[in-house]
């Protein structure tokens, strides 16, 4: 399931953010009539259509995998957390309708109605993402039921949906979607612009993507910080694993880098900032931060993976935030440095960065919740399907997704070639 989610999240993120990029490009076209904007909007919409399709079918797989892989979870959780899934379903339905209208309605709808449909795709995408994350938030911060004798009673689906973790997780992921998609799209267009420096389409695309990328990257550290503080309060062992914090202490040090060794309870090669962890987690340098030693051994999440994933995410986030300051500065100044080969090369290199951070972040939150599937209520081991040979499913779907990825890349390349041909034709017309 992690594999399907890891695959789906890339497409879902693109589906959340890209419609807004397109809406902006489309808006500029409707307002200025500048041809490069319509070429860009149409090119982007073709890419989005293909990505959306893959995202949609992988999402279908997930809704079934909940039961196929975790029947022990769903039989308890379904009634409690089904609500956000139904809202997600509704939002996704609107999104599917809107995208049909947008992709195929160029000649059948009035221009601004058509534009609005494109915007609806984005809005419903954001909403459906938010709702589905409420469900994950509930797994981390269960609410809205009492667990009596291995069953859930007194179910309150509203309390379940609006659990403590829902909002901050939802916000963090939504910002991440814009951040990752922004840098990926910017990186792609930067690479192409580097090869075709006179392309107006790529220049416009770069500008739009960079605005989204930079703004979201500067918001994200604040949101991430709030998310971490939420985790410190609600899931102290997850925080301990994230930070490789083995021993409960006041003035807990913040460890930068380092490789944790579970057997000795030490972290080697780390740079320690005294009091840093206490301060970040609770705003007080003297606050006590629980270490892994405060929890029974069978309730401690795997430290190595959680810690390395967390550090990966934070490093990438910091790098992107720093670059974003530069980007905004260059954009404001309309500096030619923005489209210099050096800078474009840098952006191209950062193409996958945001998505790596997303995968790392999901690893943190999911692995960091182990051994629980519902935090401190139900263990993952008790929820998994009894069917033997699950590995077969895993292999089949992995192979399937790999094939799809390869095909997608081939198609993208051809679409880019078509865009270049179209731009050339437009240019020839104006000569």
């Amino acid at each position: 399931m992690a594999m399907s989610l890891g695959f789906h999240i890339v497409f879902a993120s693109i589906g959340i953010a890209m419609p807004f990029f397109m809406a902006l490009s489309h808006y500029r076209y409707l307002r200025t009539g500048k041809r490069s904007y319509i070429l860009l909007t149409k090119a982007w919409s073709k890419g989005v259509a293909v990505f959306f399709a893959v995202g949609a079918v992988s999402g279908t797989v997930l809704s079934f995998e909940l039961g196929l892989l975790w029947p022990g979870f769903m039989e308890h959780a379904g009634a409690i957390i089904g609500m956000p899934f139904s809202w997600e379903g509704a939002a996704f339905f609107l999104e599917a309708i809107a995208i049909g209208l947008f992709l195929y309605g160029w000649d059948r709808l009035r221009p601004w109605t058509h534009w609005f449909c494109g915007l609806v795709v984005g809005i419903s995408g954001v909403l459906s993402g938010f709702f589905v994350i409420c469900a994950n938030g509930w797994m981390n911060s269960p609410a809205g039921f009492d667990w009596v004798n291995g069953r859930a009673v007194n179910i309150d689906p509203v309390a379940a949906m609006f659990n403590d973790a829902a909002f901050i997780q939802g916000l963090h992921m939504t910002v991440a979607a814009f951040q990752a998609t922004g840098f990926a799209v910017a990186g792609l267009h930067a690479l192409l612009l580097r090869r075709r420096p006179r392309s107006v389409v790529h220049r416009d695309a770069l500008h739009i993507a960079l605005v989204f990328a930079a703004v979201s990257s500067l918001i994200q550290p604040l949101v991430g910080h709030a998310a971490a503080q939420s985790v410190a309060r609600r899931q102290p062992e997850k925080l301990a694993a994230m930070e490789a914090h083995f021993t409960t202490a006041r003035r807990a040090p913040l460890l930068l880098g380092g490789i944790p060794d579970v057997s000795t309870g030490r972290v080697d090669y780390a740079l320690a900032v005294p009091g840093g962890l206490s301060f970040l987690a609770f705003g007080d340098v003297d606050a006590e931060v629980q270490g892994l030693d405060a929890f029974p051994p069978d309730e401690r999440p795997p430290v190595l993976i959680t810690h390395l994933a967390f550090q990966t995410m934070v490093v990438i986030g910091s790098v992107l935030a720093t670059i974003s300051v530069v980007i905004l500065f260059l954009l404001k100044r309309r500096s030619p440095l923005l489209t210099s080969r050096l800078f474009l090369g840098l952006l191209a290199a950062l193409t996958p960065a945001g998505f790596i951070a997303i995968e790392a972040g999901w690893t943190v939150t999911e692995v960091g919740r182990q051994p629980w599937i519902i935090y401190r209520v139900l263990r993952t081991a008790d929820a998994v399907t009894p069917m033997p040979g699950i590995v077969v499913s895993l292999v089949v779907f992995t192979v399937l997704y790999l094939i799809l990825t390869v095909l997608l890349i081939a198609i993208m390349r051809r679409m880019i070639a078509m865009l270049h041909a179209a731009e050339k034709a437009e240019g020839a017309q104006h000569e």
């Binding site: 073709k46 293909v50 959306f52 399709a53 893959v54 949609a56 079918v57 999402g59 279908t60 797989v61 809704s63 079934f64 995998e65 909940l66 039961g67 196929l68 029947p71 022990g72 769903m74 039989e75 308890h76 959780a77 379904g78 009634a79 409690i80 089904g82 609500m83 899934f85 139904s86 809202w87 379903g89 509704a90 996704f92 339905f93 609107l94 599917a96 309708i97 995208i99 049909g100 209208l101 992709l103 195929y104 309605g105 059948r108 709808l109 179910i155 309150d156 689906p157 399907t385 009894p386 069917m387 033997p388 089949v396 779907f397 399937l400 799809l404 095909l407 198609i411 051809r414 679409m415």
Partner: protein, 340 residues
Amino acid sequence: MNELQLIEMTALFLAVTLALYALLGGADFGAGIVELFAGGRDRETRSVINQAIAPVWEANHVWLIVAVVILFTAFPQAYARLSTTLHIPLALMLVGIVLRGCAFTFRHYDPRPEEQDALYTRVFALSSVFTALLQGIIVGAVISGRAGSDATDFVGLYVLSWLHPFCALVGVFTCALYGTIAAVFLVGETRDSALRGRFVRRAKRWLLCTVMLGGVVLASAYLFDLQFAEKFFEDARSRLALGAATALLPVLWLLLTREMPNLSRIVMGLIVALILLGWIAAQFPALIPAQTSGGEEAIYALAAPAPTLRLLLWALFAGLALIVPALIFLLRTFKRTPSA
């Protein structure tokens, strides 16, 4: 609304979403199936299919997700149970869904389709059949009570729950039904009268096929001594459904002959709804019938508590209030039968 009514209302919603999925999603799968049987050289059929499906397929398939969400929210234990015993056919169905959706979209958007067109087309057509087959097998497994198996060994629980001639026949029937839905819908997708004539003849052939297979399915239910057969012919509602569906067949035939596509679609939709009604009436109130009577799980026992159901129904009503107008707008934008 008391608790029993809540449960029944929810079950009704589930049935309606399944019917809509069978009709709309079925039309999409059916298109691939029709394409497969139409032969590689039938370019016109292919291009009509492409145009017809492209704007609406994403929306059509969401009904399945809605159905699954209703199932796991309102009847979570049933969802868990079915997901366990029917793990293999469900997983295979998902592979089919993924391949079909991607093959269709890639074929449509690949700027140089000639290179991989044959691959996409083959995958699209085969995965359409494959998925339809599996969906029928899954339904057959539920109807026959095999899915409610309480075997304890691997083969008994995970294989025999669905691998059985009756289930296979329901699978084939589903393919034929979907093909018919698509063939009927296709009639309205073209203005060209020669092409229309061909589509009408095709739709009639598919209709005949489906009727025959339907008969075979019912006969086999008897032959295999399934509880389902008994209940189907005893229950007044399923008899009524069967009767009404049969009565509509000559109506559909006539509408097709007269080339009246919109009415044909409506009647086709009614027939599909009646088929589903017949199925459900035969097993109501059991959600997962069992092979031995008394072992079945009725919706009342399996349902989630009232607060969950109430909120779910509100969410469904609110959602539909938004979605149905939007869906109508979508279909009208693209399906208005083109006037000369």
